[in-house]
Symmetry: C3
Subunit: 136 residues, 3 copies
């Protein structure tokens, strides 16, 4: 019981201090963080193309997956440990074009749960956005 109280007190102290030692953010910004790590998992922001903005779905998907690789690496994990992937395409008719890049990127047999739907993205230059969660 005393142990439990101490544990709770410690937890409250940690949290009110603002330290949040159990949360680690990668590139935290004023609006969102690139990723946030919590108890064995890393949660990535939805990624869109930067240098290939406005170009083909093929190019944008390749760049987005490259960004995801880089962030997963910073978190100490990799694409074979992705749990979920949410993919938004601004035009669902590009489904096959996106998949060609995706299929070449994932490791067969070590693929995540995935859902892909159509949605307009933050700017018309963006044709694909991908948000993933991975195990560390």
């Amino acid at each position: 019981m005393a142990k439990t109280k101490k544990k709770v007190a410690k937890k409250v102290a940690r949290r009110s201090s603002g330290a949040s030692k159990d949360l680690t953010r990668i590139d935290p910004g004023p609006r969102m963080s690139d990723a946030i790590i919590h108890e064995g998992r890393v949660f990535l922001a939805g990624k869109v193309a930067d240098r290939s903005k406005g170009r083909s779905v093929r190019e944008q998907t390749a760049e987005v997956l490259e960004q995801i690789d880089a962030t997963l690496k910073k978190a100490g994990t990799d694409k074979t440990r992705i749990l979920t992937a949410n993919i938004w395409l601004s035009d669902i008719s590009t489904f096959s074009e996106m998949n060609a890049v995706w299929d070449a990127w994932v490791v067969p047999g070590r693929t995540p749960a995935r859902a892909t739907v159509e949605a307009k993205l933050a700017a018309p230059e963006y044709k694909v956005e991908i948000m993933v969660t991975a195990a560390l």
Copy 2:
């Protein structure tokens, strides 16, 4: 071995009794729960405006974030511990208007992973919906 068997037996008993002691729901309804707590995390339902239904994105975003604050508080956590946020706007051209409210609400450097896309919501009066997951 005996210990493991006992543990499994206990787990099965707990689950078949319907108690689900490891799951705590906030305002469980017949269709969905306002939130559900499981092992160190809370999962909130997608929130839409209630009293500001039909009004501006600015007003609806403010109300939705207020609702999220209230639910996070019930779960014993707060906005600095949000892991992921999914935002749907019925009109993506209101992206900046939503962000003005969002940016004033989040705590710089303690922001979550986020993705925002356009989608028609359950009723045309709803202009923004936000679904978050947070660490306890």
Copy 3:
């Protein structure tokens, strides 16, 4: 200390061996897995209708929920332990039709956090897609 080092070494060995003993996939495919289990939770892929493809939202929702039941069963859990559900309807005017099937399927008081929005799906024959995460 020695114990910790051993633990780390073991973890690295496990991961570099490709075994990923902490990840269990259900029906892993070259593009995605039907579901993936990690530390007390199961993450399901977005499910669409198969045999009722092209038919009513009512029929497709019933089939999708049946598929979800089957996958949750394989993971050793059930619908009363769903944490989150994301539902996409290709036409949001079918919201009530989908809900009629959903409401009859969930167990009152044991419902998940949920969000439903409109989105075009991978093929026009698909009218509803549902992606869930559940506690084991």
